[in-house]
């Protein structure tokens, strides 16, 4: 198929960016979206132009590095996938595809489609851990029985890959789904109880400091999340925060 691409080009964080049109031809429906981008870049390099910079690494939907806003949707039109898992069979011959970076005040553009998501790092550093030494002197793993239900729910929250699609999708650029998932994973497990109050307070405070917006329950984040992280996690985070403020 032949396609027109409208791609956000921006030299660096200090330069103003703009949309630029490109044409690609003979794209196979079996290609992944990023393989289509590879074809474009090979074309640009051979013409002596600068290829489009974009983040990607594992190309199997787990590292959370890829981050494109395609036709107005984080990770594009398919559901439950990251950009790297999106395939060209989702598009038709002659389509025009708009490709932008994940936009949010807290995710400044570094170059073209690459954004800086270090705000997520700082939120996790504020409390996204259990303070246990890695000395190997911990108690036997089976001495802490955890109900299958709690373990499964914690696992569902832990599947978050930290890609930032929730932020890019949210009209308020809220990071509540991400932070909610992190807080929930630990809140659901007995190991996480001891520091629960401090954790949620610190992580939420850092989230606010980074300039993420608030949640107005539109639920767009849940729909665009490639891992299907549930809105319940936001409710749980709010509950934990309430509990912490009363303790």
């Amino acid at each position: 198929m032949n396609l027109t691409l409208k791609i956000w080009r921006q030299k660096d964080s200090n330069t103003k960016g703009q949309m630029v049109d490109y044409k690609v031809t003979d794209i196979s429906e079996h290609m992944s979206f990023l393989e289509m981008m590879d074809v474009l870049n090979e074309q640009l390099i051979n013409k002596g132009e600068e290829p489009v910079a974009f983040d990607h690494d594992c190309r199997e939907g787990i590292c959370g590095m890829c981050s494109m806003y395609i036709n107005g949707e984080a990770h594009g039109p398919d559901r439950g996938v990251t950009t790297c898992q999106l395939h060209m069979r989702m598009f038709k011959d002659g389509d025009t595809i708009t490709i932008e970076p994940f936009r949010a005040k807290a995710f400044p553009v570094i170059k073209d489609l690459v954004v800086d998501r270090s705000a997520f790092e700082r939120i996790q550093q504020a409390g996204g851990y259990i303070s246990v030494n890695t000395s190997g002197n911990t108690q036997d793993a089976n001495s802490i029985p955890i109900s299958k239900h709690a373990a499964d729910e914690a696992m569902d929250a832990a599947t978050c890959i930290g890609c930032g699609a929730c932020v890019a999708t949210c009209k308020n650029s809220s990071a509540m789904l991400f932070v909610g998932a992190k807080v929930s994973q630990y809140a659901l497990l007995p190991q996480g109880q001891i520091e629960a109050a401090d954790r949620v307070r610190n992580m939420v405070a850092q989230m606010d400091l980074e300039g993420f917006g608030n949640c107005t329950n539109t639920g767009a984040c849940e729909i665009e999340c490639p891992k299907g992280i549930s809105l319940d996690n936001i409710a749980r985070m709010n509950r934990e925060l309430m509990k912490a403020s009363l303790s």
Binding site: I62, H87, P145, Q185
Partner: protein, 670 residues
């Protein structure tokens, strides 16, 4: 230099304990004055950085990704082994040790593997304490599953993303230390060289991938945890950025590179679909528990399937060749990875492949669905259940077990694997070879350590499923933090290492010159053009089956390709900005050297063992006819290569492997 493995004396069971009792320690007040650099933040690097910081050292950690959490350990699906014996099925430290040495086809160092098995149980305790949500049973205790090549259930798992959960555990431990100021984290940085002063590793030169700035970082010891070199094949299950540059640079500065030809080709990957393919996707080994692998028995059927004129479901049972079950009745579809991969290649080479290019075999769940369906019908007291009812009931069970994998397959291939068999083909997955290290995990350069997949590892010539995660975390959490202390105890009077010395000047200049060359060269071809060519040579001549003629050709072709690369490579953009093509150029330049050493090592090892199959070394008769033939008399050693300028001139050093606690046997899965 003679290789000294520094394995402690004494019975194998006591070596590690006695060793820990006797090593020198650094007191807490002195640790504050000692700096350690860790390159790579996967399971090995992440766990090492966290633990070293916790002990009190000042750690500087480097990752090329935008977060430590994105290192490729994250993609591991199946699980992590540990000798907990929670299932009471006869597992023990010795059995895990034995399985690992046997699975590795007797090409690993006994003492290291024993230690690995010994600390494996600790890993699970540690991860649970960190909040890793492992799968549990209804009683609230940890669940286990079984993997290929073993007879017990010792694999712990977190759905199909054990790697991500373990990495997030290590990452959370890192975050705690970053918050305390004990780890200084350098995301989007790539190490481009190591700096040696008076024979000791004293720092690195790194490039800030956002600004392009070249930076100097000094330390009292340097730890390389940068993963494997599977991308030398261009197509592999590795991440796009996975590279061998850190390992190759230290090799060029004196660290020996061991067994580069030991590479794992994983049997169950999604086949390539065209020339544009950028990477291959693995389907977890756990699928082989229920899936049956087959190709058509008749060549006419195979041709018809290739041309899409015949559907696999229309081929009658008696016209199918379940070749693993036929060749290996004892282990069937669960033979180790190397054996399964070669058997698939053998059928495809003979013309029986099942996709358009003839490079795929079927992985079929129809009989599993039927078996589970009948079982469920019985459980639910459904009499005379129709075929559809049985299918529906069985499908539900298969969905519960492998749903996410089936969904992933459908997204990529656009076929429903519940209705038509999956197509799979082997792909490069893991490299057992790597930087040679002694018992302390130190390379042949003082103060330079190498851990995780980057070292030549405990897996010998073939790694068992769910053992990579175990080794990475064992090295980082429990082994290196001890062994490095012994070395650093001699560094307490050294003081801060300055970076304004001639050694740093020289290393930085070398790095900058190379970058300038790439930017100014303006050749005819992109970096990928050369990488793809290298990958083709490696796959065709250093792939699942190797012979003398092909390996000699590979060496010559890679050398020629390397020369062409340095003349004709085209890198757009400039050095002082984010420039992904420039990053790739440096990595491919190193792969072009490593590939030649790989072929040389494969040529030198004229035996078949594990993932390394030499056509000249097969059993000629008896029950094992046609199977790989290991040669313990001449090749029971680790081949450690010393850099001498050109890869072809590398000098071989042998570490003889002694097997005192395990008897050497030919592997048989018949």
């Amino acid at each position: 230099m003679a290789l000294n493995s520094r394995v402690p004396e004494g019975p194998i069971k006591d070596k590690w304990t006695t060793y820990k009792d006797k090593i020198n320690l650094v007191n807490p007040a002195n640790k504050r004055h000692i700096d350690i650099i860790v390159v790579g933040t996967g399971l090995a690097g992440g766990s090492a950085a966290a633990t070293l910081a916790e002990l009190g050292y000042n750690v500087k950690a480097f990752a090329y990704q935008d977060s430590p959490r994105r290192a490729h350990s994250i993609a591991a699906q199946g699980g992590i082994n540990a000798a907990k014996n929670y299932q009471g099925d006869g597992d023990s430290t010795y059995r895990l040790f034995y399985d690992t040495v046997k699975g590795g086809d007797y090409r690993s160092r006994e003492a290291n593997v024993y230690r690995l098995a010994e600390v494996s149980a600790n890993i699970i305790d540690q991860c649970v304490a960190q909040g890793v949500p492992f799968a549990r049973d209804y009683g609230g205790l940890l669940d286990n599953r079984s993997f290929g090549g073993v007879l017990v259930s010792r694999t712990f798992y977190a759905k199909g993303q054990t790697g991500q959960q373990l990495l997030l555990g290590a990452y959370s431990a890192m975050n705690r230390q970053i918050a305390r100021g004990k780890i200084e984290m350098f995301n989007r940085h790539e190490m481009l060289d190591v700096v040696k002063i008076d024979g000791k590793a004293r720092g690195i030169i790194a490039r800030n991938l956002v600004t392009g700035e070249i930076e100097r970082h000094s330390a009292h010891a340097v730890v390389i945890a940068s993963g494997g070199y599977g991308n030398v094949y261009y197509l592999s299950t590795n991440a796009m950025g996975s590279n061998a540059t850190a390992a190759w640079k230290i090799h060029k500065k004196g660290a020996y590179f061991a067994n580069p030809c030991f590479t794992q080709i994983h049997p169950t990957c999604i086949p390539r679909s065209g020339d544009y393919q950028s990477k291959l996707t693995l389907m977890s080994e756990s699928l082989r528990n229920d899936g049956r692998i087959w190709v058509p028995k008749n060549i006419e059927d195979a041709k018809a399937v290739q041309q899409r004129k015949l559907k696999p479901t229309d081929i009658a049972e008696e016209n199918r060749d379940y070749f693993l079950e036929r060749r290996y009745p004892a282990f069937g579809n669960l033979v180790p990875r190397d054996v399964a991969s070669r058997a698939a290649k053998e059928r495809c080479d003979a013309g029986y492949g099942v996709n358009a290019t003839g490079e795929a075999v079927f992985l079929d769940f129809a009989s599993a669905i039927e078996r589970y369906g009948k079982e469920q019908a019985k459980i639910h007291n459904i009499e005379n259940a129709s075929a559809e009812k049985i299918y529906d009931l069985g499908k539900k069970i298969v969905e519960a077990k492998y749903g996410n994998l089936f969904q992933m397959y459908e997204k990529i291939v656009d076929e429903d694997p519940y209705k038509t068999p999956m197509m799979i083909y082997p792909a490069t997955h893991y490299t057992m070879g790597g930087i040679w290290v002694d018992y302390n995990l130190m390379t042949t350069v003082d103060g330079l350590y190498c851990i995780g997949e980057a070292n030549f590892s405990d897996h010998g010539a073939n790694r068992l499923g769910a053992s990579a995660l175990m080794q990475g975390l064992a090295d980082g959490y429990f082994v290196l933090p001890y062994t490095i202390g012994d070395y650093l105890s001699h560094e307490i009077r050294t003081g801060k290492i300055p970076t304004d010395t001639k050694e740093f000047d020289e290393a930085e200049k070398e790095v900058k010159d190379r970058i300038d060359f790439f930017i100014n060269n303006k050749g005819k071809h992109s970096v990928d053009h050369f990488h793809k060519k290298l990958g083709k040579i490696m796959w065709d001549k250093c792939g699942m089956s190797r012979n003398e003629k092909g390996l000699k050709e590979a060496m010559a072709e890679i050398k020629a390709l390397r020369e062409e690369f340095w003349k004709e490579v085209n890198v757009p953009g400039s050095a002082n900005e984010m420039n992904p093509e420039l990053e790739k150029a440096g990595r491919v330049a190193d792969f072009l050297e490593l590939g030649e050493l790989f072929a040389k090592d494969a040529l030198e090892r004229n035996e078949s063992c594990g993932g390394h199959f030499r056509e000249e070394s097969v059993e000629l008769d008896g029950e094992q006819k046609g199977e790989a033939k290991r040669n313990d008399k001449d090749y029971a050693y680790v081949a450690a290569w010393e850099y001498k300028g050109e890869p072809a001139d590398a000098v071989l050093h042998k570490e003889q492997l002694e097997f005192k606690d395990i008897e050497l046997k030919q592997r048989s899965y018949k």
